[in-house]
């Protein structure tokens, strides 16, 4: 397993709309977005708050719709329109939950994890199709699988990422767990009190470098590393020592020196009290005395928590940062938690130094399912 793995195309659907241009405009505007309330009369819960994709049809196969749209954009971005063979690996927390929830359009129980096959079918792609169900780190695991497949020589082109859509069951369970912030998704703020779910999809074209070069793809990004780990502990809470999330990050950044080349971190940072603190402390262990100089881009403050799509959207955002060469300022914090001693640029974009054109993306899920990945920009 030695082949270089590149990213030649990206696509996104978020609560700000479709397309990576839309996402980048939202990132650079850094405006606060209030959560939506789904038009679902059966969502009987205290805080039916979620950042919805602007698509009013809650009875549609939304997660599939988002994945297909993001995949089409990614293929076009890669210059791979007309492709008939590729692997598709998609992560999701809930799959396509709507048809199995009351009054949402289904007429029989269907296996919810059909996003990969549905996307491959809509795009006419033969090859392999895998659905990964690793909760809120699913997109990171899917990208890690794509990384392994290309390095093993099993695939030249993999459409990989994640997609999640509104689920009454998931939102109800998060309400019951007291994990929904009544205001909005506010990672790293002092008085944060949970997260806010979001819909969305992020898809990347992951390709062997040799294949990309042979077809003339220029200045691709490199998927430089992938790390997985499992806390093997509590069902919902991260292990307080952060040992396994540190290990995943270290595996992704690579051996000695790997961390020094990281110019930006897109943290998991969901707004839960313990999660943000543990990740902040883990970043100190990975980056040591450099930590205050490593800018974090807190994507969930802008998008909310897109579940199994969040890591993939993080990777898309990382790719946009690498293409632009700047880390955008974050959505403004009212007051940063002193227990989360990390740098969240507030006032202005931060340029990526030429020797630090690497972005680390973290994603963690229930059950202590951790993933990290590193994207590297082409030489400036």
């Amino acid at each position: 397993m030695t082949g270089e793995v590149v990213v030649t195309g990206i696509g996104a659907v978020t609560c700000h709309g479709g397309g990576t241009d839309t996402l980048w405009r939202a990132m650079t505007a850094a405006r606060i977005r209030r959560p939506d309330e789904p038009a679902d009369p059966l969502a009987v819960m205290d805080l039916p708050r979620i950042n919805l994709v602007p698509d009013p049809d809650l009875r549609a196969a939304r997660a599939t719709r988002f994945a297909v749209a993001a995949a089409r954009e990614a293929l076009a971005d890669a210059g791979l329109t007309g492709l008939s063979e590729a692997a598709v690996v998609l992560g999701s927390c809930m799959g396509e939950p709507g048809p199995n929830e009351r009054e949402r359009g289904g007429d029989r129980w269907t296996a919810p994890f059909r996003l990969a096959s549905a996307t491959a079918t809509r795009l006419g792609l033969a090859g392999v199709a895998h659905d990964v169900g690793n909760a809120c780190s699913a997109g990171g695991y899917a990208l890690g699988m794509a990384y392994d497949m290309v390095r093993a020589g099993e695939a030249d082109v993999v459409l990989a990422g994640g997609s999640d859509a509104y689920s009454r069951v998931a939102l109800g369970c998060f309400n019951r767990l007291g994990a929904v912030d009544p205001d909005r998704c506010r990672p790293f703020e002092t008085d944060r009190s949970g997260t806010v779910f979001a819909e969305g999809a992020g898809i990347l074209v992951v390709e062997s470098a040799a294949h990309a070069a042979a077809r003339g793809a220029t200045a691709p990004l490199t998927l430089a590393g992938s790390g997985w780990s499992c806390d093997a502990g509590h069902v919902t809470a991260p292990h307080a020592d952060g040992e396994q999330i540190v290990r995943a990050m270290r595996e992704a950044v690579g051996p000695a020196g790997g961390a020094t080349a990281i110019g930006c971190v897109i943290p998991h940072g969901t707004g839960t009290r313990l999660g943000d603190e543990v990740e902040s402390q883990a970043l100190h262990r990975v980056f040591g005395e450099r930590t205050p100089d490593v800018p974090l881009y807190s994507l969930k403050a802008l998008l909310g928590h897109a579940g199994g799509a969040s890591a993939a959207l993080g990777a898309v955002a990382g790719a946009l940062i690498l293409r632009d060469g700047h880390v955008p300022r974050n959505v403004p914090l009212r007051e940063q938690d002193p227990g989360c001693d990390v740098w969240l640029p507030q006032r202005a974009p931060v340029p990526l130094p030429r020797d630090r054109r690497r972005v680390l993306v973290n994603a963690y899920g229930f059950g202590g399912s951790n993933s990290s990945l590193v994207l590297e920009g082409a030489a400036a």
Partner: protein
Amino acid sequence: MSGTNGTGGTMWAVTGVGGVAPEPGAGDGDWFDHRVRLGPRGYKYLPAAAQYLLAAARAALADGGRTDAVPADRRGAALALNGGFAGLFDSMDRRIALEGGAAGLSPATAPFFAVSLLGSRLTSELSLKAFALTLASPKVAALEAVEAGGRALAAGRCDTLLVGAAEHRLPESPSGDGFPAGDGFPAGEGEQGAVALTLEPRSAAEARGARVRGTVAARSLFVPPGRELPAGLVSGAVRRLLSDLDTTVEVHHVLDGSPFAATVAAAVDRAAGATGRVTPAGAGCLAAAQALAGSLTGPPGTRLLTTVTREGHAALALVRTGPDPYRGPGTSHTSQKRGTH
């Protein structure tokens, strides 16, 4: 332009096989008592599929599997389910929508809206810290778990791997109004039980004197429904699994009754030079997992297991039990390829 260009794969040693399933005719509620199977306390609020998986994993360890032969950071898990949590989800949806709202949900079961928690207790009890990967593609997820987990082993993400698949019966009435269960299975039915396997490199198993049940490798394919099977796709996959020394191959197809499944099975038969026996797929991924476990615990031989679905998924697993034709001084454990040696 090629999307997949597999170059073969390592055959992994299986040192433990375990499973739980109801006896024919057993009632839904009485075939599995978690207090007897797992312990008197601490398992009541685990979803049934997670209970089954834990019991199957313990059986695999009792059969000789040793996940603890390596440090916790080197123990991985690749797990599979389709409808394993469907009944739980339906009951939670009913409570939220019709019976007073989300406040009435049990806080003990609320976290299990995430299907990856199928393995949460398992990874905790066995300290499987390398990773816990959850595959969920319809019906092929168990063989995908062998494939993806094996790939992770080969990539160095772990040194031992627990592969598991679990399912539980489908909800009685997901919509609350006579809503039928899907995929041709009556409401309230579906699969129940779990299978677990412990995998590791054969050299590692032999170095510690473990009994090897057999070796296994898996590959998967996808063809969009309605599209003609690409020439060479199935035969290529079979060729990458089988070798010239696999002169006699027993083929077993687990099929969902779709025309696509029949087409792929026929292509597998042609490529393998055999006529496979066919058994029906279940509502989820358990039938293929059980067939795989059966192949590993059967008499010596080479077996090719196929499962194919109407959604366009196909997965193949090669199992060798008994003497490995490639075992000998200086030989590798990598399956050599038909037509290339």
